[in-house]
């Protein structure tokens, strides 16, 4: 089993990378390749879904971070 302190360091690193990527992916110019209507996902234009996906991903990353901190 890895030590709690190591787990925290890894989790913090992942969170940092994820939220930096999120900031780039949701603003200009990073958003440009994803700023399209098609394909629709569950009836919703792609770029709208793109924002929702990143929020769901954030929920996952924060869960991971929280797990690491409650060990």
């Amino acid at each position: 089993m890895p030590k709690p302190a190591d787990l925290r360091r890894v989790a913090k690193y992942i969170a940092f990378v994820y939220f930096t990527a999120m900031a780039i992916a949701l603003t200009f110019p990073g958003i440009t390749p994803f700023n399209t209507l098609r394909p629709f996902v569950l009836g919703v234009p792609f770029v709208f879904t793109w924002y929702v996906i990143w929020i769901l991903g954030a929920l996952l990353v924060l869960t991971l971070l929280h797990r690491a901190y409650s060990k």
Partner: protein, 496 residues
Amino acid sequence: MSDWRIVVAVVVAYLLVILIVGLRAGSKSTDTVAGYVAGDRGFGTTVMYFMTGATMFSAFAFLGGPGWTFSRGAAAFYILAYGVLGVAPFFALGPWAARLGRKHGYVTQASMLAHRFQSRWVAVVAGVISVIAIAPYVALQMRGAGIVFEQVTDGHVPLAAGAAIAYGVVLLYVWHSGVMGVGWTNVLQGVFMIVVAWTLGLYIPYKLYGGIGPMFEQLEALRPEMLTVPGLDAAGNRWTPGAYTSAILVSAIGVWMWPHLFMKAFAAKDDATLRRTVLLFPTFQLFLFPLFLVGFAGIMYASAPDNADAIMPHIVLTSGLPAVVIGLFCAGALAASMSTGDALVHGAASIAVEDVYSGVRKNTMSQHDKRTLIRWLAVGVGILGYAIALDTKLSLVGILLAAYGAVVQLAPPVYAAFLWKRTTAAGVVAGLLVGITVTGILLVKPEWRPFDLHEGLVGLVANVVTMVLVSLATKPPDRDHVLEWYATSRKEQVTQ
């Protein structure tokens, strides 16, 4: 027409329930400033979660969100982006601030900064900027409540009277119960508005267009420019990428600088509670999704309200829903407005007393007298917000985006307090003053903004540069004090 009377009856019943819950909550806190402002630092996860979520999501999201989607299309997606991005740093910062709060007894972020930088002028300047930012935010909430009353009663209750009724209730329970009233009413209002938002967001596209997919297919043929970012500006032309991106950045950096949100760090029971609140935050952000669907549904709707922010109540009222359902919707919208408005009024008054008043005049007041003064100032902030609410021509989202320009100026001192030991009080005060001045000038002179960037972002850069240069040019702070402060913030709690 008797229908609007049923609606009003449902709304009045709801307001009474909120009032009773809010008033009863106050009997649990002690007669001190910590009891009134930080709930004796004893909130668990459930209350903290709904308190934070309900505080964050307000008339801004509930009416302004659909309003922007309806009038400006995908421009509203900026709100989806900034919430989660802005909250993430609080996972670390929140517990640091909370530990310091427990040890040194802070109840506001300005008092924390004043202690860190050993200067009460830091508290005074930060406190004044906080109150400047909060006043339009309160006004936005009141306008939201007023819009709901006006739309639903078909003008029988005008905007001004509706806002006054809703905020009369808010002031009553804030007066009586302080943050305890805010916490317990928000649990109720948080649950209520989530249910209302999802129900309407899924039902309205289905009822009007046969589903979410068919709705977007029709929109794609008719108004494709509304469906991709950056959407449209207030005049209906394409918004610029610079304005869109800087709106996200300013809001993301500024969001936890809102004193009423930052102060939650001082109200949480322990670090774990605070972290769980941050963790669950994206679930509140998802609640914008159905609200935006309602806004998109409004674009092709047969009729349009005079005011884009009224699109949500407008559709609810004209699509043939039963009066009781309409009443419940209104209560949900009021919940959104009031659950943020109460925390804002309470937060602004606490700052005015704790930081500005106590900073300017030497602190000689008793806890009881302070508590009384906070109450009177809460009424004062309410009246000020009301005056702005009746006057403004901006959209609900537009009001908040402008207020962010002021609140984001608090970010450099807060981050510097935790991360840069060399920061001095003179640097902080100079940075804040330069930042707020630049932002103010560009707010009045939008044509001077480089690349159409948000005025707050330009002010922020000026703020940081000034803070660093002045700090380096002035005498370094007392090393022992700073190290002790750092050690306290980084120390894990033993009991977790």
